[in-house]
């Protein structure tokens, strides 16, 4: 009973903040509402005894991704009026994406009924009494090791590409060569001068 009430409270806050993400006029507010959304969905996952996924969501999305998002958004010059302009123009595209997402969700949720051979369904942790994290790990590094490694490679390529975009040589800028700084010895910088002391008049 109490669990049900808690579930509905989290779900209501989740829906409210998700709506606010797209309706808030201030981008910083929208980003913070997105943080709240992530937080509530993490709480829902915790309630479903998927503690690893829930905490990983907080750790990765709330703790790292959204911080960088906020970073960018805070540097923007917030001008509300132009942000509202494209709403009607992008509405058809938005609806299309929404429909595709709903269809995909229906396929995933309905996969059990369709019997496509997914073996990972059903609450494993509750049945075996083993830690959720351990179960995910043992599946991820054995059965799904190739998809996992391929995903990590894709991410690596993305990282390298992003770094390559920023890596340009600009003539005329000053920067410090750290290795040169580290290699400096006392003799390079310091000159001992022996000054004779002044005589008392």
């Amino acid at each position: 009973m109490i669990e049900l009430i808690i579930f509905y409270v989290f779900a209501a806050v989740l829906l409210f903040s998700a709506t606010m993400v797209i309706t808030a006029r201030n981008p910083v507010h929208a980003a913070l509402f997105l943080v709240l959304t992530f937080f509530n969905s993490a709480a829902l996952w915790l309630m479903a005894e998927a503690e690893f996924l829930g905490i990983a969501l907080v750790l990765v999305y709330v703790g790292a991704v959204m911080v960088l998002f906020l970073f960018v958004v805070m540097m923007l010059d917030i001008n509300v009026a132009p942000l509202r302009e494209g709403f009607a123009r992008y509405l058809p595209l938005g609806i299309l994406v929404g429909v595709v997402m709903v269809a995909e969700m229906a396929l995933v949720v309905g996969a059990e009924q369709l019997d496509v051979g997914l073996t990972l369904t059903g609450g494993g942790a509750a049945d075996t009494g083993e830690s959720n994290t351990r179960l995910i790990g043992s599946v991820l590094y054995t059965v799904y090791v190739y998809p996992f490694e391929i995903a990590s490679l894709v991410l690596l390529v993305a990282i390298i590409a992003a770094i390559m975009l920023t890596l340009r040589r600009r003539p005329g800028t000053k920067h410090q060569d750290i290795s040169q700084q580290v290699r400096v010895r006392k003799a390079d910088r310091l000159r001992m001068v022996d000054l004779p002391s002044e005589r008392r008049e």
């Binding site: 109490i2 910083v28 913070l32 943080v35 503690e51 690893f52 905490i55 990983a56 907080v58 750790l59 709330v62 703790g63 790292a64 911080v67 960088l68 906020l70 970073f71 805070m74 830690s131 959720n132 994290t133 410090q176 750290i178």
Partner: protein, 335 residues
């Protein structure tokens, strides 16, 4: 009825943890001023009470009576909520910290991950405070803090992977139990480089000297909390010190054998218990103050270089070494 009793019991446990924690925070500020004073050949606070022992309460009373100034053009809601956002995770993380055998509010299996998640949430208070103040110094401080915390989180997360591999569990209680024995049984010895990486990134995560560019008085006045006064400022202060105690406590649990005595097995002084946890945590807290009194502040690019180009590679290499040690079942840690 049973639910209510459970609830009261949990609230009671939280109070038993949080009230001593706040007293510890108060006396941490006192200890810091005293120790820094001694390092600099001064006496430190010595006017209020014997040896200045009531100084923290005098400070708290002063801050409570001060006006909280809301800057013009500040975002009111976020400005007020930012201090709360910074102290909430600092306190919430304590829910899974086992202070002694079985003495823990919530014994959860993903305790280590939970602590890491809570530690990464602390930065929101800083960023939101910096933005909502509508001040360029505060914004600069917030940006610096954000970049620093995100960078050092990676090194810290990797360091925690080392602990997780050594203990074979994410449960903080089990991590301590895996280190049962005298001082050379604890994880600081096989994981020495990882321990150092954890401790350095812990100091950087709490934005303490020598990594306190988020405040950097000489450059950006006081950084993210420059516009805060009175109790709102005090809450930031409390959060910073609660975070320091948390990082020290975690270092104790993960590398220094938690509640186990260093003389395990010897009668009387070998007795395990809460006092050993407190002594070890106090030692790490002293290190915080010691660093502050000793090191000059790092330059911003040096901080980034240290985090990305030194700490992370060291951790990755040592994880490989550690895997070798685990495969070879090196006693007494991995047998």
């Amino acid at each position: 009825m049973g639910v209510l009793i459970d609830l009261a019991w949990t609230i009671g446990k939280i109070l038993v943890l949080v009230i001593p924690l706040f007293i510890a925070v108060a006396y941490m500020t006192y200890a810091e001023r005293k120790v820094i004073g001694w390092i600099q050949l001064r006496r430190g606070p010595n006017r209020v009470g014997y040896y200045g022992l009531l100084q923290p309460f005098a400070d708290a009373a002063k801050l409570l009576m001060k006006e909280i100034v809301l800057p013009a053009n500040a975002n009111r809601f976020l400005f007020v909520i930012a201090p709360m956002m910074s102290i909430m995770p600092a306190l919430a993380a304590w829910a899974v910290i086992p202070v002694s055998g079985g003495w823990v509010i919530a014994e959860i299996n993903a305790g280590l991950l939970y602590v890491l998640a809570m530690a990464s949430l602390g930065v929101y208070g800083i960023i939101v405070a910096g933005w909502a103040s509508n001040s360029k110094y505060a914004l600069l401080g917030a940006l610096r803090a954000g970049a620093q915390v995100v960078s050092y989180e990676i090194a810290m997360g990797f360091a925690l992977v080392g602990v997780l591999m050594a203990a074979g569990s994410l449960n903080l209680g089990d991590i301590v139990r895996a280190q049962e024995g005298p001082i050379w049984n604890w994880f600081w010895l096989p994981l020495l480089p990882i321990f150092l990486v954890y401790w350095i990134s812990g100091v950087a995560e709490t934005n303490r000297l020598p990594f306190d560019v988020a405040e950097g008085e000489s450059e950006i006045v006081a950084g993210f909390h420059v516009e805060y006064s009175g109790m709102a400022f005090a809450v930031f202060f409390l959060a910073e010190y609660a975070n320091m105690i948390l990082i020290s406590g975690l270092a104790t649990i993960m590398f220094m054998g938690g509640w186990y005595s260093p003389f395990h097995g010897i009668p009387v002084i070998g007795a395990d218990g809460l006092h050993w946890f407190l002594i070890k945590t106090a030692f790490f807290l002293f290190c915080y103050i010691w660093f502050r009194g000793t090191f000059p502040r790092f330059r911003y690019d040096q901080i980034m270089r240290l985090g990305w180009k030194v700490l992370i590679p060291v951790t990755v290499v040592w994880l490989v070494v550690e895997s070798g040690m685990i495969l070879a079942t090196v006693p007494p840690w991995f047998d």
